[in-house]
């Protein structure tokens, strides 16, 4: 059996509904209407030990709900989850010692005290031995470059510094699985790269299985090969990054900037989307070569700059949605 195995997972939320106006407000005192939302709808997947998997989908797709069920915080309505032999919800207290969690939008560090004090507390929460703690901490300090601000109260740290501390905090007890919910949200380019490199490193060295959610395509490209896409609670895609790109990213956009254009050359499979005095934006399909276009245009004008835009993840998911008629 796989390391993590999820079968026919379902979770429905009951949300109270209320009409506007005084009459409905009064009525809702006695009788409440509810709407049922299938946050997670019959999802199954398997993950092997040491894999890095990106779990993506637009806001409200059911990502966090799935992660929360995998962490043992929420109880599934139906279906089974098995992680390394544990049932996360039922075995919560024993199970959570095996996992580390980072929710990018929330903080697990104590605000008023230095990160190091929070680490000390986590040491006693997870009953980590002195030796293991010192080794792990040394490692983390080196890899994440924490040394300079370990003694600064967390409230005075920058977001990037804080996020590095958050990640360190979630790995002190050497978990076998790491859940990262939008770990790079709001980070600057340098911090993003640092965080990514660290995740790669920890996965390689300690064989930590990583499940991450992100809206940042570059995160996913840098870290993982496998992608699970969900939308409206349903699994839409499970496979490689390349696969999803060739399947759904059909078009590229080419922007050409020039001094003066004599006439628009005729190129097959290309379409002019926007045009003004010294700029033109074309849409071409994936089979048309960009060099061919540049070649043709260079005969008609002095090209100053060329930009090629590929579909980003959001475009791809958007297409995926259209494709599946959701």
């Amino acid at each position: 059996m796989s390391y993590i195995s999820v079968e026919n997972l379902n979770k429905t939320f009951k949300v109270p509904q209320r009409g506007s106006g005084l009459k409905d407000a009064f009525r809702s005192l006695f009788k409440r209407d509810y709407k049922y939302i299938n946050a997670v709808d019959n999802i199954s997947f398997d993950i092997d030990e040491g894999e890095v998997v990106a779990y993506i989908g637009p806001n409200g797709a059911g990502k966090s709900t799935t992660i929360k069920m995998l962490c043992g915080i929420l109880k599934p309505d139906s279906g089974t989850i098995s992680v390394n032999g544990f049932n996360p919800f039922n075995d919560r207290k024993k199970y959570v010692g095996n996992i580390g969690v980072v929710f990018g939008q929330k903080s697990q560090l104590w605000w008023d005290i230095p990160a190091l004090d929070s680490f000390q507390l986590l040491k006693s929460i997870y009953k980590i031995s002195d030796e293991e703690y010192n080794n792990t901490l040394d490692d983390l300090i080196k890899l994440l470059d924490l040394k300079e601000f370990l003694h600064t109260p967390v409230r005075q740290l920058s977001l990037g510094q804080r996020m590095r501390c958050e990640i360190a905090a979630s790995l002190l007890h050497n978990p076998k699985i790491l859940f990262l919910d939008e770990p790079t949200i709001g980070l600057d380019a340098v911090s993003k790269v640092q965080v990514r490199n660290f995740i790669k490193e920890i996965n390689k060295r300690k064989k930590v299985t990583v499940i991450l959610t992100s809206h940042d395509m570059s995160d996913i490209e840098a870290l993982t090969n496998r992608l699970i896409v969900i939308g409206h609670g349903k699994k839409l895609y499970d496979g490689s990054l390349k696969g999803i790109k060739s399947k759904f990213a059909n078009n590229k956009k080419v922007e050409i900037i020039f001094e003066k254009l004599n006439k628009i050359p005729n190129i097959k499979n290309s379409k002019v989307i926007e045009q003004n005095k010294n700029r033109i934006l074309l849409e071409i399909d994936n089979n048309t070569s960009v060099s061919n276009i540049i070649n043709k245009y260079s005969k008609e004008c002095e090209i100053k700059d060329v930009n090629v835009y590929e579909d980003n993840l959001d475009d791809i998911i958007f297409k995926l949605y259209q494709d599946l008629n959701l």
Binding site: C71, F103, K106, Q108, D112, Q120, S124, I125
Partner: protein
């Protein structure tokens, strides 16, 4: 132990609020002095069997000195914020009992606040001119029983307080629950008037509720207003109430957490 480490950490981070403590001490002195004046005037015209003047003045000063410990209406911003913003998700990913964890948090806040405040009030009140001063405990035994019941009282008040926190998730707004605590619980806890000065019917009602076990009991043990046997019985009652309140709170938390379904993300 993890809960003790947490207690220590929260204590240390709360001990930094020194100017708040200074303001608290000033307020408590003012109130204490005011009440001493009122009761002095009151007792100069009448005498009351259930509690004598010296016991009452001692009660007043202890009440002021340990006000931070027995105060029922604490609202812990962090607990509310944790649930509202969903940070509680983190706490549920840890191998500890969340209810006990938050209970320890409330306790440590109380202890930090009390440690910063009680000593100056006690010392000054002890050296005030007679008869306006805080008397020494009636006996060594009474003093030991006072310490035990004061500690248990702090456990009782935090258990009540934590339940109030979770009840607010069913009422949408925190004002209601805490106003009820404010008026009813504080009356029956002897905050407004010491229990012996309350009307008979209210004294009877207070016997069946845990509120008088917070401060009223230890203060009256200290001054000898309650005899040893009754004190021991009441200490037993404190322990039972702590267990009952913790179990009830635990159940309410479970329901409340199911209801909030961990917001966001």
């Amino acid at each position: 132990m993890k809960y003790l480490s947490y207690l220590k950490l929260e204590l240390l981070s709360n001990l930094q609020y020194r100017s708040a403590a200074l303001a608290g001490i000033a307020t408590q002195f003012f109130w204490g002095a005011l009440l001493v004046c009122v009761y002095t005037a009151f007792y100069s015209h009448t005498s009351i069997d259930s509690i004598n003047y010296d016991q009452l003045i001692t009660y007043v000063w202890l009440n002021q000195a340990f006000f931070a410990l027995i105060y029922i209406r604490n609202k812990d911003k962090d607990i509310f914020a944790s649930i509202r913003t969903g940070t509680v998700a983190y706490e549920l990913c840890r191998p500890y009992d969340l209810y006990i964890w938050w209970y320890v948090k409330l306790l440590s806040k109380k202890y930090a606040a009390t440690l910063l405040r009680f000593l100056p009030i006690i010392v000054v009140a002890l050296f005030l001119p007679k008869p306006y001063n805080l008397s020494l405990p009636i006996s060594l035994l009474a003093f030991i029983l006072f310490l035990i019941s004061m500690f248990l009282g702090s456990l009782v008040v935090c258990a009540i307080n934590l339940i109030a926190h979770f009840l607010t998730f069913f009422t949408m707004h925190d004002k209601g629950i805490f106003s009820i605590l404010n008026s009813i619980a504080e009356l029956l806890a002897g905050f407004d008037l010491p229990i012996p000065l309350l009307p008979t019917i209210l004294i009877m009602v207070s016997e069946y509720l845990p509120f008088r076990l917070i401060g009223d009991l230890p203060f009256r043990i200290y001054s000898g207003n309650i005899d040893t046997l009754y004190a021991l019985k009441s200490i037993g009652l404190q322990i039972i109430w702590i267990i009952v309140l913790l179990i009830i709170g635990h159940l309410i938390m479970k329901k409340a957490l199911k209801k909030v379904v961990i917001q966001g993300g």
